[in-house]
Chain length 348, copies 2
């Protein structure tokens, strides 16, 4: 049996109607929506074929039809019309992205809230470096004889700093030596190598300096690890409760606590600007009857981020995809504008 053009049209109508109403779609409705050029009986024959082909499902005999995951997939791949964002929408997206760059964490959580409230589904956002973050430059600022400030600039030009309490008094004269040591031996290498290097230089350094050195390295390692760890922020989980498919508290609870506590296993595609995962295409069990739409954006040249949306398989893929890529573009632009300065090995 073949998938004629008419069958495809029917499938399209079914998907779009079902997405709108969440009710199985009947032959009569379809006939009406096709402009009355064919009768409902004809549609019924076609529907039976579509079920047999696996594109539609029937909740029970004598109910209308509902798209199967396979049906959605065909719809997304071939039938769905690329939707264009209206100017107003684009503006709204950009307006919601006038964020301060200060803290990446805050930015992620703001962005995910914005996305979620714009698509009316739960959303998630991450940012991750393309390669491992290293320290690029160190400084130490003496505060008093018992404390000093470590300043570390990282590979992505973010700067981290903290007050360090010293176990021993340190001769102020020696500070420049130490800074120099830090900048020559501990920049541009991984955290493992930093720990390694710390052992290597142990003997070359007077003991009371070594204490400060290792405190500094410990801080650096922490900060680098934290900064390069992929943090995932979710928002808008409560939106699920508005959907008929999640009126059931148990179902809703399962998904919501997944989004809150086990979000690491949300889809994180490595490639492509956008990915749509429909129902069972998801590997994670909880997501087996939801769909996920993920888009990626660029943070300068070094980093890449993902924004995703989780919803029922009955999702308005066209709109969600359009809005999501609007956001991705917006974010890429935002980060591009505030571009980090060009990289050159800046070892003091």
């Amino acid at each position: 049996m073949e998938l004629t053009e008419r069958k495809r049209q029917i499938l399209k109508v079914v998907v779009e109607d079902y997405v709108r109403t969440a009710e199985p779609v009947g032959s009569k409705t379809i006939a009406a929506r096709m402009g009355g050029s064919v009768s409902s009986a004809t549609i019924r024959n076609e529907l039976a074929d579509l079920v047999e082909l696996g594109y539609l499902e029937q909740p029970h005999t004598s109910a209308g039809r509902v798209p199967s995951p396979k049906g959605y997939r065909l719809y997304v791949n071939e039938l769905m019309e690329q939707q264009r964002l209206s100017v107003a929408e684009t503006e709204r997206i950009n307006a919601s992205l006038h964020l301060k760059m200060e803290e990446l964490d805050h930015l992620l959580s703001q962005a995910s809230r914005a996305v979620s409230s714009f698509v009316n589904y739960p959303a998630y956002v991450t940012a991750a470096g393309r390669k491992h973050l290293t320290a690029r430059r160190f400084d130490l600022l003496a505060v008093d004889e018992r404390s000093c400030i470590v300043v570390m600039m990282m590979g992505d030009n973010r700067v981290k700093s903290q007050l360090l309490r010293l176990q021993l008094k340190v001769d102020l004269e020696q500070m420049p030596t130490l800074v120099n040591l830090l900048n020559t031996h501990f920049t541009g290498i991984s955290v493992d190598e930093m720990n390694q290097e710390l052992m290597n230089v142990a003997e070359q350094v007077p003991p009371q300096l070594f204490l400060l050195l290792s405190q500094t390295i410990a801080y650096a390692v922490d900060a680098l690890e934290e900064a390069s760890q992929r943090e995932i922020v979710t928002a808008g989980a409560s939106q699920l409760l508005k959907l008929p498919e999640f009126r059931d508290a148990d179902k809703a609870h399962e998904l919501m606590s997944f989004l809150a506590d086990r979000k690491e296993s949300l889809p994180m595609p490595e490639d492509g600007p956008m990915k749509i995962l429909i129902g069972p295409e998801n590997v994670t069990e909880v997501l087996k009857d939801t769909s996920v739409v993920v888009a990626s954006y660029d943070i300068g040249d070094e980093m890449r981020g993902l924004i995703g949306v989780v919803g029922p398989t009955r999702m308005d893929y066209a709109t969600v995809a359009a809005r999501l890529s609007g956001f991705a573009d917006g974010l890429t632009r935002l980060f591009g504008k505030q571009e980090l300065p060009p990289k050159e090995e800046g070892k003091e």
Copy 2:
């Protein structure tokens, strides 16, 4: 009519049974739970009195009794037995609080997750300074001729820093002058005063330095505002869905989106180590039929934080209160240990 000791005992039984089962409590059950010293008929008489006195309510004739807010209040104030945390629980709490001090934000979100999963209700956490944060010390580190790093130590000894891109080349020789200016004129004053002061010094400074100066101050103002702004982190909202009173998706949705989006209006009592707000005692409309338990903890001497729990009025107040104050103590201790160094006007 008087509130005899026996009535109080009955009230206590009703509260505790209702908290456990979420079902209206009948006279027979109560009689049994009182050790069989009185008959259910006697209890019935007493119950009728308790309803008249306003401590209990009857969902409908011929149903058991349910505590009214007034009843819970009496229970909390006078009937409830102070509950003691078991050693295991205390250990569990402290274990969950082995947090790194790195970022206050992370810490808050970790703490609120821990609290929530420990009491099985949604939780919220904040930290807020007792007074306005000021800058205590500035440094500028030249990176290249077009960029430098601002380092600012704040009143609470946290250090913030960022790379600054300069619009103009700046003479390296002049940097120390600028740093000196920053440290003499811009430390220890509010952000408003900082902006003010910026105007004042405008004429005394060569123009190309002034540009850098104002960029620095702009960063400082941002960072100080962000750091002193009260951030509220919520966690565990999905726990609500396990409770029978929130099986109704609309109700759950209302409260959950409140917790996600309008959490600023959660109770933030100014005083006392712990506060319990029962049902209509809450000013916020959404919380009118929920209860909130809030405890405060200290972050060193300068700051104070709150941890709170939101749940149904049918809440195990004794346990929640005990665990919450366990957490509060744990946090106070945690921050006390990692105490910030003593303050002395450190204007370099």
